[in-house]
Symmetry: C2
Subunit: 281 residues, 2 copies
């Protein structure tokens, strides 16, 4: 298993906190540094032993052998570019952003010699946020997609895979653009739909919701600022996914409006077949 | 608390089984009769003590002081009309159908003297089905909507309320049409959307789903036949709910396509506000 001296986490929220906690409990790093702008977050993380050091500024992460950026997707590339010149050669920079192509493209060919970035996306999360919800097992058995670019160093890619496996993840490599098209459908569209569905519920009918509505709209409780950044960063693919869903909703509408019971049941059966086939129901 | 001699349940699935179980454990009925066409269901329910008697035919339910129809929404009115002449005066007939206006209208003025029907809808369920998933606490604290028609007997309405409260439910009375419009949005539309979302997921991306996609599409695992009947029974209201969602999705699409971040964040905030306001998250 991978052992490193210092792990730096930039952004100590749900994911950053969970990564620090997993690294601590699995003895992946001897020392864990967490950068966060929020003094309350830093104080709590030092007090409860989650972090060994909690500097307020990005530069404080420079000593890490591995640095994981757990900040909003529209900040990551900029922060990587700012930190990279301060890091020592051999450092591995990675992230947890839900969108990859724009980050990978923004960094391509722009890092100092010996400083490597490998885009990553652990498919784990929650509508909750903040390090107070961090869980040591958040990555346990979860898929972590790594998204090398054409020029990505093979050694750095292998280390990124080792790092995520050491924290409990399963690792798969994908092209950044393919990742973004897939996640538009598997993650970004569900978020948008959950939000739209919750948004059209009139106040006077809220007490008539049961577990079905609540499960279907759970994602709508997520952070609007973070999700605006994700949707905008993956604009084209999300619009395509939205069109695809629109087409299916239109097929449902036509079948229902026309009283075509068999066609309607066929559409419901199609959805059930896919849903029943998903692991970990 | 209400005490009756004989409770009859027509259709021993998840809801019928849970009603029988709750009635048994809360001593609401001395004797519980369950009608089901499936011999395996009848045998198991007799063997494990869920039912005292398990006749295969509807007529077997005629001895109940309270008869609850837990059959598909497109069968209920017809079965009530068939059973009513066999029942003794003073019987309370009720149901658990997810749609109410068409059932209530079909029975209005068509029952023998002394035989009363009160439409009911317990907002409890699961994508699972079958009495093997029955739970004594399925109705615990859940809202049960009762939907009297203009001519509904006041005493029968009061008894229906007592019955559901005796099983652990909270009871609210609504106009059947208003119930159907509300449930189109809080239950039927989420089902349709979950199914559409699951239905457009390509096989090669299924392994890239995480808890978000799974929660949002959980309802898609429901029984396609039962849900075809529900959607068709509430056609107009579901189409209206679908239009309402379509309008909101179009607002999302425009904001995203135009790169209007503030508008997009406002839409996400609107959804979050509603979702955060729902009890029992």
């Amino acid at each position: 298993m991978m052992k490193i001296h210092t792990l730096s986490v930039v952004g100590v929220g749900l994911l950053g906190g969970s990564i620090a906690l997993a690294a601590r409990l699995r003895h992946v790093a001897q020392r864990i540094v967490g950068v966060d702008r929020n003094p309350a977050v830093r104080e709590r993380a030092l007090r409860n032993g989650l972090l060994d050091e909690a500097p307020p500024d990005l530069a404080g992460a420079a000593g890490g052998d591995v640095v994981v950026f757990c900040t909003p997707v529209d900040c990551i590339a900029e922060q990587v570019l700012a930190l990279a010149p301060l890091c020592r050669p051999g450092v591995l920079l990675t992230d947890v952003g839900s969108t990859k192509a724009h980050i990978v493209a923004a960094l391509e060919g722009r890092l100092p010699a010996g400083v490597h970035f490998v885009g990553s996306h652990p498919l784990a999360g929650s509508e909750k946020h903040g390090a107070e919800h961090a869980r040591a097992d958040l990555l346990d058995g979860r898929l972590v997609v790594v998204t090398p670019a054409a020029s990505t160093d093979g050694g750095a890619l292998a280390r990124a895979g080792e790092f995520w496996r050491a924290l409990g993840g399963r690792v798969e490599s994908m092209d950044p653009g393919e990742h973004d098209r897939a996640l538009a459908l598997t993650s970004h569209l569900p978020h948008l739909v959950a939000s739209a569905l919750a948004g059209v519920l009139p106040a006077e009918w809220q007490h008539l919701t049961a577990t079905g509505f609540r499960d279907t709209t759970r994602l709508a409780a997520g952070n609007p600022g973070l999700w605006t950044a994700i949707l905008c960063a993956n604009q084209a693919a999300v619009l395509e996914a939205l069109d695809r869903l629109g087409g299916q909703l239109e097929r449902f509408r036509q079948a229902l409006a026309g009283g075509e019971r068999e066609r309607l049941e066929g559409l419901l059966r199609q959805g059930k077949q896919v849903r029943d086939g998903l692991a970990g129901r």
